[in-house]
Amino acid sequence: MIGALCAPAVCSMSDYIPVALTFLFAAIIVAVMVSLNRVLGPRPDRNAIKDETFECGNEHTGSAWRRFAIKFYMVAILFIVFDVEVVFMYPWAVVFRELGWFGFVEMTMFMAVLGIGLLFAWRKGALEWK
């Protein structure tokens, strides 16, 4: 039935009309939600004390836009590497049954490289949080 609705040769952009509509409706609803306070709420009554960011009563000094721990940056780099490799696996998974043992051996090698990469990062201490 799904095949009948959308055979690969005749698949067109019209399949993505519902996606566009979903995006549109969700965007409108969320935009209204986020901006409704401007209309319904009281006029902002601004003064220096009230406008300060919340720091548990401590006086506010300097900007929050400063350096932070490099560990988070390491996680982001590792994420890019691993996520890109995961993306490569999706097309492989779809045609896996046609590829058979050839596809299995190829992907085992690919996954071994991925695994060694993870082990390397692990041994180097990139995954440690202290």
Partner: protein
């Protein structure tokens, strides 16, 4: 023209479903926490005191929104005003649209037109879900950064690292599901789960892939940033984490996004592992229980039963997440990262390897 009309109606229905269920879950969460921790919750709402019982669910559906939307729109000094307003949009928007790819029923024929019961009839449904889940990290990062508040920034950096870490494990587990069903189409996955193993057991995904179920459910809960994965908001450490500086409708957007992600996780787990809208042993002809005669059930009743089946399963997994949220304490950050990188990613890799091996050894049945 038809495509526009049908698509529009379906997407509106799905968005409304997710929004309403999220708001309702807010009440279930308060009532559930009261039940679990033996205290009172949400027991004040009433119409001028005339209704004999309290209307707690109206509290979150009507009273809370009215209160939230009539608050002052506050932006702290020194914040990036544009991004501060953009962040709640980016948080809620992907959470709302993710559910669109999840089939909530088979199909209905109205006036000769076959309408599939899901908002977007994509044959790459899994990829759509992964893409939209990945987008939700922007709202968290930008909210914390734009607020120019140290607590908020800490929360958002924690949130970003946590969400992307668990996304890798989620992606790997989903690859093994794609291998199992040999398709990216979520509707086809649900059809595959209508089969029977040895003519007895429904071929639901969790029987083939228990490890993937564990990973997808855990990663889904980590993506929704709720206890025990609530380090980005951690009330007792970071005030309210990345949405400390938000009020009114914008804060509501973050809350709703959390609950929409709960609904999305439940929908994903149900669709991939628990048969989606399938009712066990119910086929188009009727109920075919093993070793028994066929009980004829046809037409609209089948559709209604399937919709009910999907709804009950989704509500069950929403409740399960609320149960976990009020039962477990928060992780420490190194425990969280260890679980993600040293536990779930190796497990997902091994699971993927075993899945591929089993498919080749056992053949089509695995």
């Amino acid at each position: 023209m038809d495509a526009w009309l049908i698509g529009g109606v379906k997407s509106l229905i799905v968005i409304a479903m997710v929004l309403q269920l999220s708001a309702l879950l807010l009440w279930v969460e308060r009532k559930g926490s009261a039940l679990i921790q033996n205290r009172y919750g949400a027991n004040r709402a009433n119409f001028f005191g005339v209704v004999p019982f309290n209307l707690g669910f109206l509290n979150t559906l009507i009273a809370d929104p009215i209160k939230l939307f009539t608050k002052e729109d506050f932006v702290p000094a020194g914040a990036d005003r544009f991004i501060h307003s953009l962040a709640p949009f980016l948080a809620l928007f992907p959470a709302l649209i993710t559910f669109a790819a999840i089939p909530f029923g088979d199909y209905v024929v109205i006036g000769g037109t076959t309408i599939e019961l899901r908002a977007v009839d994509l044959d790459v449904g899994i990829l759509y879900v992964v893409a939209m889940v990945a987008m939700s990290v922007y709202g968290v990062v930008l909210a914390g950064w734009a607020s120019n508040n140290r607590w908020a920034l800490l929360g958002s950096i924690r949130g970003a690292a946590q969400m992307i870490s668990y996304e890798v494990a989620l992606g790997l587990a989903l690859v093994s599901m794609v291998l199992t069903y040999n398709t990216l189409d979520m509707q086809a996955m649900v059809y595959a789960q209508g089969e029977l193993i040895f003519g007895v057991l429904p071929a639901w995904g969790f029987l083939y892939q228990p490890a993937a179920l564990l990973i997808v459910f855990t990663a889904g809960m980590a993506e929704s940033k709720r206890v025990p994965f609530d380090l980005p908001e951690a009330e007792s450490e970071l005030v309210a984490g990345y949405f400390t500086e938000y009020s009114g409708g914008k804060q509501a957007a973050f809350m709703l996004a959390d609950f929409a992600e709960v609904v999305m996780t439940a929908g994903l787990v149900v669709t991939l592992f628990f048969g989606g809208w399938q009712v066990p042993y119910l086929t188009a002809e009727g109920w075919t229980l093993p070793f028994m005669d066929l009980i004829p059930v046809t037409g609209w009743i089948v559709t209604v039963l399937q919709l009910a089946s999907f709804t009950i399963k989704v509500l069950f997994f929403c409740w399960l997440q609320i149960l976990v949220r009020w039962t477990l304490p928060r992780f420490r950050y190194d425990q969280l990262m260890n679980l993600g990188w040293k536990g779930m990613i190796p497990l997902a890799l091994i699971n993927l390897f075993i899945t591929a091996l089993m498919i080749l050894l056992v053949g089509e049945s695995a």
